[in-house]
């Protein structure tokens, strides 16, 4: 309490330094803070960070088209699982405290536990993507710029109907594009 009072007193007392000096320090301090904050944020978005806990899932992506393909344009964990715009990203990062808690109580720390919970986790993600209109997919794959003359016949017929009308969103059909599938017994459109 005493410390706070002292701090407040200092903040409300004029400084002997020139106004420009104080303003410059504030500006540079703000710059450094914002840079450090975002660097920290991006560090939690890297593949290495995610594999720290989710290594088996990250391994599954290695055979898929989002990992290695003709053009070399790829997506990593955060491109699909972390929203891009700042406000939604912060909400997701705060939500990640739940994952941290589960990590410490070891909810999926063995293979068997993970297999059991896998369907639940997959459905959560699919539901989230469906609710936000597969926004993470659309960050790269923009429907308005799809060239149907370059797509195969199956893609053209599906994209020009269900996707265009808004009945379906990307994730409704493209489940399993990045990771192996859980039990698809009760999922619409599978078997």
């Amino acid at each position: 309490m005493k410390l706070l009072k002292r701090f407040w007193k200092r903040l409300s007392t004029p400084s002997k330094a020139a106004a420009g000096v104080v303003l410059l320090m504030g500006f540079i301090g703000g710059l450094l803070f914002w840079g450090a904050f975002n660097t920290g944020m991006e560090a939690t978005n890297t593949e290495e960070f995610c594999s720290g806990c989710h290594a088996p899932i990250v391994k599954e992506i290695r055979e898929t088209i989002h990992y290695s393909n003709r053009s070399g344009v790829r997506a990593i964990c955060s491109d699909c699982h972390v929203p891009h715009n700042w406000t939604d990203k912060i909400v997701r990062k705060v939500q990640a405290s739940k994952e941290l808690a589960f990590h410490f109580i070891g909810t999926i720390d063995t293979d068997e536990k993970f297999k059991e919970r896998r369907g639940h986790l997959a459905h959560r993600e699919w539901q989230r993507m469906k609710d936000n209109n597969s926004q993470e997919c659309r960050n790269c794959h923009q429907f308005d710029y799809m060239d149907f003359s370059e797509q195969g016949p199956r893609a053209v017929s599906q994209h020009s109907t269900a996707l265009a009308a808004g009945d379906k969103t990307c994730v409704d059909c493209h489940k399993g594009i990045a990771h192996k599938l859980p039990d698809m017994r009760d999922v619409a459109g599978w078997q």
Binding site: Q158, G176, K180, M184
Partner: protein, 157 residues
């Protein structure tokens, strides 16, 4: 003086002989009968040489191939990269099952896929036909290795 000369001559003779022996090594001494020349579908290849690897074979993304004989499992005309066929999910059936085929505009799997070994008709795909890729394959751009003048029957040509 004479001894030194003799020693020098002997040493050089030895050296010369050793060099000759080394030359002989690379020719006939390690493979007395020659290198054989194994004949295979890749042509006459020598055992010791490593031939450069062939190019990757490509799968055309969409093309149609006629069946060559009755009961042939039809070739897959489209790309199937990363399509998962496992106990958890069968991507092929997500379009080709009787439930989904109409909506997806795909060929239904034939009734033979619903019959088990005792020729009983089941209510869903028989486990013996569940793993599609055991019979149905896409055609890569691989040329036949041997000459082949197979002709399909008139009704299928």
């Amino acid at each position: 003086m004479k001894n030194i000369m003799m020693a020098l001559v002997a040493a050089s003779a030895l050296l010369f002989g050793a060099v000759q022996a080394e030359n002989a090594d690379t020719q006939a001494d390690t493979n007395p009968g020659g290198i054989g020349g194994v004949g295979s579908l890749r042509g006459m290849s020598e055992i010791e040489t490593t031939r450069p690897a062939d190019d990757f074979k490509r799968f055309p993304k969409d093309h149609h191939l006629e069946s060559s004989y009755v009961y042939q499992p039809p070739l897959v005309p489209h790309t199937i990269r990363n399509y998962e066929v496992s106990l958890n999910a069968n991507k092929c059936l997500s379009c080709h099952s009787w439930k989904n085929a109409k909506e997806m505009g795909a060929t239904k799997i034939s009734v033979t896929h619903y019959v088990n070994r005792q020729e009983q008709v089941l209510s869903d795909v028989s486990p013996r036909r569940y793993f599609c890729l055991q019979c149905h394959v896409p055609q890569a751009d691989a040329k036949p290795l041997v000459d082949n003048n197979f002709q399909s029957v008139d009704s299928l040509r």
